[in-house]
């Protein structure tokens, strides 16, 4: 449900770099479950430049998948997007809604959260699209791959042909039309043109004998081939922003390399901006120019690749980098981060830096909500940690057992993976 447009005087689009295509501000998504309110995403801000690959890295339960679903407005109950603005640069959309919803428009930027739901839904495909972690469960097992890609092409064709209809309540294809199309043979949602385009797309993503493969079913594809088909389907609508949620986690490393190359080539070709979401810092390093590190629903550090990899400020980022075995110079021992991921239950989250209970450098000053501070390195480099503005002071350090009193986060609710998206990282053989 979008924010009520008539509330506090709209501040207009936030500041950012000139060639931003997407600016997300204070995005907040909550899950109202039996055990209580889970703050999966809490005040997340990030920008995506045109034609750039922006990385979001974080472990299970950090809220990175829910962030992706929130941007594309696919959060299902018991989850709800309770706050935040998603400014999307699309001049004709801005022009169209300039007078209907003035609060939502600022220059070429439109806050999609303020637009009516029908319009927001019509952006899926032509403007935003998404690929998921496990290709096998992201395609309908009883419909051929070609047909499903043709549908994505058809969405784009009908949206550009008649935008007003696709924004209507029935998205231009009510139950009546469906009955007629199913009863009358030869008619259907997808047209000949879109089916031919689907075969082209399959070829474009490097699938051999595309014509034959288009008539086969998802279970007749290998993991790598199916992810290529998913990429084809996502790019069918020539979207401005492609969100990739752990696209290569379920794949083997040689197939992963193929898919990453494919994503980079297509991104360069179509000048699409990509939001790459993963837990694998290697994939982030290879693909992204800028990256945001997420922990417990918040962005804790943000900046260029060099900022975050070479001189990280936030102890969690350091801990992450310290936990990864280096393949080229193997250290004899890793320095892991102690303790467990927090439960994100509103009742158990203190008014403090959420990482304090696991942080080797926790101090008194950390026991308050921490804003984002600027850090050295490029001017993009920001971090949600007091160490950016003050030195670590041994005297003010918190005693060891300080957080023992807090309920053992792994006690009742087990490891609180993202309630919505299955974050658990599980790979094959």
């Amino acid at each position: 449900m979008s924010r009520d447009p008539t509330d506090a005087e709209p501040a207009g689009a936030p500041a950012g770099s000139p060639d931003d295509v997407l600016r997300v501000r204070n995005l907040t998504t909550r899950f109202f479950t039996e055990e209580g309110q889970v703050n999966a995403v809490e005040g997340v801000d990030f920008d995506v430049r045109d034609g750039e690959v922006f990385g979001i890295v974080g472990e299970s339960g950090s809220g990175k998948s829910v962030t992706a679903l929130s941007v594309i407005d696919l959060v299902e109950s018991p989850g709800r997007i309770t706050d935040g603005e998603v400014w999307y640069r699309e001049p004709d959309l801005a022009a169209e809604f300039e007078d209907d919803v003035p609060a939502a428009v600022d220059g070429e930027f439109v806050d999609v959260r303020r637009l009516p739901e029908g319009v927001r839904r019509s952006l899926r495909g032509p403007s935003f699209s998404m690929i998921f972690q496990d290709p096998m469960s992201s395609l309908n097992p009883s419909v051929t791959v070609g047909e499903q890609i043709a549908e994505a092409v058809e969405v784009q064709r009908r949206a550009s042909a008649n935008p007003r209809r696709t924004r209507s309540r029935t998205q231009g294809y009510g139950l009546g039309r469906l009955l007629v199309d199913t009863l009358v043979p030869g008619r259907g949602y997808t047209s000949e043109a879109s089916e031919a385009r689907a075969v082209e797309l399959l070829e474009q993503v490097g699938i051999p004998d595309p014509a034959e493969r288009a008539d086969e079913y998802p279970h007749q594809f290998s993991g790598g081939m199916l992810q290529r088909a998913m990429v084809a389907q996502a790019l069918a609508g020539e979207p401005d922003v492609l969100i990739a949620d752990e696209p290569t986690t379920a794949l083997d490393v040689t197939i992963q390399a193929q898919i990453l190359n494919l994503l980079r080539d297509l991104q360069a070709e179509q000048d699409t901006s990509v939001v790459m979401i993963t837990h694998d810092l290697g994939v982030i390093a290879r693909m992204c120019q800028r990256v945001g590190v997420m922990y417990a629903g918040q962005v804790v550090e943000r900046g260029t690749l060099a900022d975050v990899f070479d001189d990280p400020v936030h102890p969690y980022t350091e801990g992450l980098l310290g936990s990864i075995p280096d393949m080229d110079e193997p250290a004899s021992r890793l320095e892991p981060i102690e303790g467990n991921v927090p439960s994100l239950l509103d009742s158990e989250m203190g008014e403090r830096c959420y990482f304090a209970d696991r942080c080797p450098k926790a101090m008194e000053d950390c026991l308050r909500p921490i804003p984002m501070y600027d850090a050295e390195g490029s001017d993009e480099h920001e971090t949600r940690c007091v160490l950016a503005v003050e030195e670590y002071d041994e005297a003010a350090a918190l005693p060891d057992g300080y957080f023992e009193s807090e309920p053992d986060s792994a006690s009742e609710s087990g490891s609180a993976d993202d309630p919505a998206a299955g974050e658990e990282v599980s790979t094959g053989d």
Partner: protein
């Protein structure tokens, strides 16, 4: 991870600790006789659709060669890495090694005994010496059992703790007060007290400061008026019997708790040892995070005091920060208990960190083995090179790095490619002697020949593309095939052979076209299966045939021209991949034929991800 105080770090095993020190024993292990585990020619085939009805329809069951001739040696105290991608057979090898699956062929010698031909009693003893830790934290612990029961289950099955005859029992007696105290200890006290270096020391404190003193501070057992006896941390498992004699006391120490309590005590110690708190013993698995559950899995494996543990992707399902904690724990346990690991994984950076030696597997076969140093610094087999090349490094130098990827997918284990199984994706296929051709063109010719041999080269489709239904314009046909398979860079003899092969193909004689091309272009990689030689850093690849020929090793491979290293671009016409599920090692719906269950612990499980209920098995042979 809370480190238990060094004092209590006792050696769980009676026999003396391993002589080598920590995980990074760099010295190459001595000859074969020292290897704890020797695997020779291990083979594991699954058979599809050979139910009663299929037999009636007289259809030959198709065999899936999941593991096809694997040789491995694992030295004592060493960590051998077994790496490879999905479907390469590494998990099946690990489980067949422990007889959780029935092997089709080959031998597995554990400390000299052949595991595969063990009777049930020998097998039970073997179970105590070799254990396994699994990958998925949510499926490796029985949700209906408390953590304490899970850990103690092994002890319950083998009715442990049982007195160990060759463990000596001693009492260090400290006496307060001046009574003369004689202490005798039951021989089975080693079931309650941990032994160190073959001796179980029982801490006995006798407080005889004054007859009739009130109960001593630490609640020791009190004879009426006599001295009180306490055993420090073993108070609730030992019992003392004091009988006065003139001028002093005789104290007899015996086990004072039931086996069940002893097992619970054992479970509590193991929980502490793996970094969890003993107070969580009665909790259920769903109350723990992924990392904590893996720790319980490790504690369960340690309960029987094994020498050898198969770690089947123990950290793949964990987040990076938790992964590091578990890797450190495994390191500590190995150096403390002298354990030998078979570490199965697909994440190369983890393997580099923890393994001493590594074996790389591809489609059921070992293609290269070597020490971690050799393998990561100077890989020999093209597949190992491609693997190392593809792994993204978490470092800024990785930004924008363009990786030369392998083409196509892993072929189906149902009908693996002839000769070298990697030849369908290998960027360094060896052309026949005297045929100079760059790698990418040679690869295209090979793909064309594969399609022809498999018989699904749709000449009709090509004629349609050319738009000439009555098939006259052979030139157009040839141009179309050249374009589709990228065969333009051919000159001289190569060009002519291809030319007339296409001519023959144009008028529909696919088989003959294939033969013509094979005659000229057949590579040694197709005809001969490369053998993994018995040498320090072996690689099963014909590239090294001449090296061995030069070194006088009698290997009859013909001389090989130096293959240029051509980029293996996105060649069209790859071998159509088999519908292998992304994560699972085996295609869907495949089950394991060896169903007949012997005395219980060698019955196998089928490890295809989903099991088609109507799938039937052939009756397996009873071991």
């Amino acid at each position: 991870m809370t480190e238990t105080d060094p004092g209590a770090g006792s050696d769980l095993r009676g026999t003396d600790a391993r002589d080598g020190d920590g995980a990074d024993a760099s010295a190459p292990p001595a000859g074969d006789d020292d290897a704890l585990v020797e695997v020779r020619g291990l083979r594991k085939y699954y058979y599809e659709d050979d139910t009663l009805i299929d037999r009636l329809l007289r259809r030959e069951p198709t065999s899936i060669q999941a593991v096809d001739g694997v040789d491995l040696d694992i030295e004592r105290g060493e960590t051998l890495g077994l790496v490879g991608e999905s479907g390469c057979g590494k998990s099946t090898t690990g489980e067949t090694l422990l007889r959780l699956r029935d092997a089709t062929d080959g031998s597995v010698r554990f400390d000299g005994e052949d595991v595969l031909s063990m009777g049930s009693s020998e097998l039970r003893r073997f179970r105590k010496r070799a254990q396994i830790v699994f990958q998925d934290p949510f499926s490796s612990l029985d949700p209906r059992m408390t953590v304490g029961d899970v850990i103690a289950e092994g002890l319950k099955i083998h009715d442990l703790p049982a007195a160990d005859p060759d463990v000596a029992v001693e009492a260090d007696v400290t006496v307060d007060g001046d009574a003369d105290v004689e202490v005798t200890v039951d021989d089975d006290v080693d079931t309650a007290v941990e032994s160190e270096g073959g001796v179980a020391r029982v801490p006995v404190r006798v407080d005889a400061t004054g007859a009739g003193a009130t109960g001593s501070a630490d609640g020791g057992t009190r004879a009426d008026g006599g001295p009180t006896v306490s055993f420090g941390r073993y108070d609730d498992v030992l019992a003392a019997e004091v009988t006065p004699r003139d001028g002093g006391y005789d104290v007899h120490v015996s086990v004072g708790a039931s086996k069940r309590t002893l097992r619970r005590e054992r479970a509590r110690t193991l929980l502490e040892r793996v970094g969890l708190s003993a107070g969580q013993i009665d909790r259920y698995p769903h109350e723990f995070s992924g990392g904590q559950r893996q720790r319980v899995g490790i504690a369960r494996a340690l309960a029987l005091d094994p020498e050898f543990i198969v770690l089947d992707e123990p950290v793949s399902a964990l987040d990076v920060s938790v992964q590091a904690q578990i890797l450190n724990l495994l390191d500590d346990l190995q150096s403390e208990y002298g354990l030998t690991y078979l570490f199965i994984a697909h994440d190369l950076s983890v393997v580099r960190h923890i393994c001493d030696r590594v074996a790389v597997m591809y489609l059921g076969e070992v293609v290269e083995t070597g020490t971690t140093e050799e393998l990561f610094e100077s890989p020999k087999h093209p597949y190992t090179e491609a693997l190392l090349e593809s792994v993204p490094r978490a470092d800024t130098s990785e930004q924008g790095r363009r990786v030369e990827t392998l083409s196509g997918d892993v072929p189906s284990p149902r009908d693996p490619p002839s000769g070298c199984r990697f030849r369908t994706r290998c960027p360094e296929v060896i052309p026949p002697a005297g045929v100079a051709v760059d790698q990418s063109t040679y690869r295209s010719v090979m793909d064309l020949r594969d399609r022809l041999r498999r018989g699904d080269f749709g000449t009709g489709v090509v004629w349609e593309a050319v738009g000439d239904p009555d098939r006259e314009d052979t030139e157009a046909f040839k141009r179309e095939v050249r374009a589709e398979f990228g065969l333009d860079g051919l000159t001289g003899a190569n060009g002519d052979t291809v030319e007339d092969a296409l001519e023959v193909l144009a008028n529909g004689r696919e088989r003959e076209a294939a033969e013509r091309l094979t005659e000229r272009f057949e590579s040694v990689c197709e005809t001969e299966e490369p053998v993994l030689p018995d040498e320090p850093h072996p690689a099963a690849c014909h590239l090294y045939d001449d090296e061995r020929a030069a070194a006088g090793v009698d290997d009859d491979a013909d001389p090989v021209t130096d293959p240029e290293f051509g980029g293996a671009g996105m060649a069209a016409g790859m071998e159509t991949p088999d519908p292998e599920a992304a994560g699972g090692e085996l295609p869907d719906g495949v089950s394991d034929p060896e169903h007949g269950v012997s005395d219980g612990d060698s019955s196998d499980a089928d490890d295809a991800d989903d099991h088609d209920a109507s799938e039937d098995d052939r009756d397996g042979s009873e071991p």
